[in-house]
Amino acid sequence: MENFDYLAPRSLTEAYAALGSGRTSLMLAGGTDVIVQLREGRKQCDQLIDLKHIPELMSYGFAADGTLEIGAAVPLAQLYEDPEVRRRQPALCDAATIIGGTAIQSRATLGGNLCNASPAADSSPALIALGALLVIGSDRGTGEVPVEAFFAGPGRSSLQPGEILLQVRIPALGAREGAYYHRFIPRNEMDIAVASAGVRIGLDESDRIVSARVALGAVAATPLFVPSAAEALIGQPATRETFEKAGAAAAAAATPITDMRGSAAQRKHLVSVLTVRALERALERIREAR
């Protein structure tokens, strides 16, 4: 591994100052992507800035309106071990519990999963479906972007030099709303998605769908938000027939490639099946909560 300086700023002000020094910087959260990339020479930097000593990035909690606000460097295990997080945001835990194994989840973070910007990352479609917002900061101030606007291409986020992802904000699910995320992999655990789907739906009193969001992973150059699948759902009864239309819309929106993990045709088929099943399970979650 090429050498670099290691900095552990204790505040955002210190971190922004380090980023403004003119040297090439990389951020270090859990390190499960970036340490391997540095070792393999796929990335280089003059200085590696450890975010884990910045209090704002290491805490999480529910705001008064129920929004789950998660510091970008909170380890995944800390999130899914919290019964309140599991109860109120199960679809977040669907993703957090399948990213790597136990030892990865002790370190890996949502911030790292998002900023690494893999099209196959598991948190991204889940968070897009949940309607999450990202808080981005720099020495010029902070701003918010929806997760679906955060990706520029494989391995590229829309973060500009000097910017840090600070927080992930997941809006509360209402009493008649449910969400689910899952992926297809050829083994039971510890693998990268061949394709994945995340959904969130809301129903009215007569089980008609009044809100919907669908997102897909590993079938485009970035995690994919699919408004056409939501259109196929909204205003319709929550039935298998409706869900299949959304699955067809998801398959039509997908632009997968063929690689060692799967062919384009297989991936198109998979996202249709995964979308239908995710919708069925989100519906089950609404019914169980009643």
């Binding site: 390190g31 340490i35 391997v36 393999e40 590696l48 380890p75 194994g101 136990t102 030892a103």
Partner: protein, 158 residues
Amino acid sequence: MARSHVTTTLNGVETEYLCEPRQSLLEVLRDELGLTGTKEGCSNGNCGACAVLLDGRVVNSCCVLGVEAEGAEVTTIEGIGNADKLHPLQRAFLEEAALQCGVCTPGFIVSAKALLDAEPDADEHRVRWWLAGNLCRCTGYDKIVRAVLKASAQMQEA
């Protein structure tokens, strides 16, 4: 390149070392501190041979930098038991023949210890899921899982 000065609690003993920022905790343990019980399998996070406990949580030490251990508590296989006083997991691995070449063994034991500390009565499904990030290329997993369940039963009786 300037070496950084790091202070940790290593297997219960306050320990200081110097390392370069690019050195992984795995390299520091093996090459600087001579604790060769922790093994290197893949050096990319996939095999779990390098597992150690960092502040009580199991991590792959090849995916942690030596400098990140500043102020932390690190437990390696050497801190879990030794030839004179085997940990119940170590004894169960021997009794159940849950190792052949042994390269994966420290990682399995460290990882299993973290599970049994948190969930003493973890069932077979839970053990298999928890250990999914530890790979073994010789023994196969049934004997390993059996050894963990045996140790768990003995530890609960004790």
